[in-house]
């Protein structure tokens, strides 16, 4: 039986998110091939790779939306395939395109998803504060989401993740569609969450963001994790050249 890396190595701090020897095939297509990685509390793991490299598939495995063909995925020490609901309650997820209910306002969407995710009632003021923290203009909070831009929707998605107070974040290109200033605010939010001990796994194409915000970086190519290193180990090396090196290998 596959053991989590922490259990196997007897590591003191167990990864909150962990994939062990995970492969996933869709028919003849092998989307993931023997991927192992772990994200501990207080880490931001940036997963890089070209489109179709398997990044989103890996996120979907952590969310229990897909089951691995082989290997095992763990969240907070629980096997995802055994207890997917409990695992999902432990994480918050921000997709590339946050999907909301158009006829509801940003605030109503946040209240709905926050109450659904936490099972608790939420007062208006703290939720409005979360929207503001996520970068949404206060006047937009009560407008219908059908009038929102993609960036504004992303901000509501970020607020939903914040409201859940999750111990792990799964982010699938979360800054896609955000303007540079909003993306920078988002990076600050991530840093704050990391400092609070949240484990963060994010996919991105933004190498600059990965090098600046990430504590670890993984590079995926054709379903395989071809590089897994600490950003602090990069030293003066340029992530872009390392990335291109792996892509052209």
């Amino acid at each position: 039986m596959l053991m989590s890396i922490a259990a196997e190595k007897g590591t003191a701090i167990a990864p909150a998110l962990e994939a062990v020897g995970v492969s996933k095939s869709f028919g003849a297509v092998r989307a993931l091939d023997d991927v192992s990685l772990g994200v501990r509390p207080g880490e931001i793991y940036c997963l890089l790779g070209a489109n179709g490299a398997g990044k989103t598939t890996l996120i979907n495995l952590f969310l229990g939306f897909l089951e691995p063909t082989s290997g095992e995925v763990w969240v907070d020490g629980r096997r995802v395939r055994q207890d997917p609901l409990q695992c999902k309650r432990f994480v918050a997820y921000i997709p590339e395109q946050v999907m909301l209910y158009g006829v509801l306002s940003g605030y109503e969407n946040l209240r709905y998803f926050a109450e659904l995710g936490t099972g608790e009632r939420h007062a208006r003021e703290p939720l409005l504060a979360l929207l503001q923290e996520a970068g949404l203009e206060p006047k937009a909070a009560d407008q219908r989401v059908s009038t929102y831009s993609k960036g504004m929707r992303q901000k509501v998605g970020i607020a939903i993740a914040l409201a859940k107070r999750a111990r792990a974040l799964l982010l699938d290109e979360p800054t896609s569609g955000l303007d540079p200033s909003a993306a920078s605010e988002f990076s600050a939010l991530l840093e704050k969450a990391r400092a609070d001990g949240v484990a963060i796994l994010t996919t991105t194409h933004d190498l600059f963001h990965a090098q600046r915000s990430g504590t670890r970086v993984g590079i995926m190519r054709r379903g395989r994790l071809v590089a897994d290193l600490r950003t602090s180990d990069l030293g003066t090396r340029d992530l872009e050249s390392l990335y291109l090196e792996h892509m052209s290998a």
Binding site: K88, L100, V103, L104, E115, L116, G117, G119
Partner: protein
């Protein structure tokens, strides 16, 4: 607040801000209220007319002058089937089988009669009643409100967002079901509350508790019926890969389950258990009656021809009694065979409720409303008992008083007291408990349909647990 309640609340908010609930729900509500108002008006008129006609007819009977009793028996009397209080909601087969019987000498008559299920197919498209609206348009409303409940959320990506929060598909399903149920309740409960006073006022003062029970039973029956459709719609919405496909499939199912199958199965049941045509029935009954009475005359009087010259007028009353009573068994046999064939057709159609909840709810609705074939048969049987009572009283009187006149038999004139010995006809419909007991098959099938679609919906969402 738990997840299904949150989901239901959000769905309701979304629907309240959209147009579908207003135009479709409003249309259904208008039709429902209109049909109830029309039903109430029609029932009040016919109830009054029947009560007045019943009283006038009996007064006519009592007001007969002194006359030969057999003349009075040929005049006979009319009886009128009382209008069921719940006919406001479901007139059932009543409009098609008539309500008036002429009770007269020698022959059991029937109301203008057709096979009961003739009234349930295409003919019913013409009659607007609350039952018709609920049976046909209720499921359509559920479809319009719910076809995109799951498929639409999947297309928009909001289902994935919801599931990522640790909400199970089962919770989503029950949230959607709750929302649809709440919307239906929002539309139907006010209509039910509006119908309740009308139904209770229409019932005889002593039968109001019974009418209330029947109304509660009807509410439960339609709740179960619409529950089956709520989960059917959600099952298809969960299974379909797009909202368009979901809508197309559901409209196809609506046509099949609500429109085509009931009609098709009604025809199939008549083919499977054929019943005699009116002409055949009359011919066979006439022939058997002729043979039975002739035999009775032969056995009693040794005379081969009823009322022939072989029997003296001093035995005319006795002959009449022999003649009529010889026919009772024959008429019972023929009418029972005819009605049993209708009952078997109904039973077959009842089992077809396995395929279509519309068939089951239709039978249960008519049964609880007291407008079904069983009630019609019970009324016809009670009316025939009244006819025989009248006929036997008159024959006995002839034997006692007229036969002694010998060849002057027909000079006998009965006093008015004789007419008063025939009591007024009173018919008490079966109680709600009896009506329910007669329709347990439909109750079981409706319950089965609801449970079946709940299970199917769960299976469908289990397949989509990844959003």
């Amino acid at each position: 607040m738990n997840a299904p309640l949150l989901i239901a609340r959000r769905d309701l908010t979304e629907l309240a801000r959209g147009g579908r609930l207003y135009w479709m729900g409003g249309l259904l509500l208008v039709l429902l209220v209109t049909s109830l108002a029309v039903g109430w008006q029609r029932q009040r008129e016919s109830q009054g007319e029947r009560a007045r006609a019943q009283a006038l007819d009996y007064a006519d009977w009592l007001a007969q002058p002194e006359r030969h009793p057999h003349d009075a028996a040929h005049q006979g009397m009319h009886v009128f089937k009382p209008e069921a209080a719940l006919s406001i909601v479901d007139p059932g087969i009543a409009p098609y089988v008539g309500s008036t019987l002429w009770l007269r000498a020698h022959r059991q008559t029937e109301v203008k009669f057709r096979p009961a299920q003739d009234a349930t197919g295409l003919m019913r498209f013409g009659s607007l009643s609350a039952a018709w609206v609920l049976q046909l348009l209720g499921p359509l409303l559920v479809i319009v409100l719910g076809f995109a409940a799951l498929s639409g959320e999947r297309e928009q990506g909001t289902l994935r967002q919801t599931l990522s929060l640790g909400v199970s598909m089962r919770e989503v399903l029950w949230g959607k079901a709750l929302a649809l149920a709440a919307m239906l309740a929002l539309l139907l409960v006010p209509a039910g509350l509006a119908a309740a006073p009308a139904v209770l006022l229409s019932a005889e003062p002593g039968a109001r508790a019974d009418a209330a029970l029947r109304l509660a039973g009807l509410a439960a029956a339609y709740a179960l019926y619409l529950t089956a459709f709520v989960f059917l719609v959600l099952a298809v919405s969960a299974w379909a890969t797009s909202s368009r496909l979901s809508l197309v499939c559901l409209l196809g199912l609506w046509v099949a389950l609500v429109l085509v199958l009931p009609r098709l199965l009604a025809d199939a049941s008549r083919a499977w258990v054929p019943s005699e045509s009116r002409r055949e029935f009359d011919r066979h009954l006439g022939a058997d009656l002729g043979a039975a009475t002739q035999q009775a005359w032969t056995d009693r009087f040794g005379a081969g021809k009823p009322f022939g010259s072989g029997v003296p007028l001093s035995q005319w009353g006795a002959g009449l009694r022999v003649h009529d009573q010889a026919g009772y068994g024959v008429m019972d046999r023929h009418f029972d065979a005819l009605w049993d064939s209708y009952a078997r057709q109904q039973e077959l159609q009842g089992w077809a409720g396995v395929l279509s909840p519309t068939i089951a709810v239709r039978a249960l609705s008519m049964g609880l409303a007291g407008t079904d074939f069983d009630e019609h048969r019970a009324f016809s049987t009670a009316a025939e008992a009244q006819r025989r009572l009248m006929q036997d009283l008159i024959s006995d009187d002839l034997v006692e008083h007229a036969d002694g006149h010998g060849e002057q038999h027909f000079t006998y004139r009965a006093a008015r007291e004789l007419w008063a010995r025939v009591p007024p006809f009173e018919y008490r419909p079966a109680s709600a408990e009896v009506a329910l007991g007669r329709n347990l098959q439909s109750v079981a099938l409706l319950l089965g349909a609801a449970v079946f679609w709940v299970v199917i919906a769960h299976a469908a969402v289990a397949r989509r647990s990844h959003g």
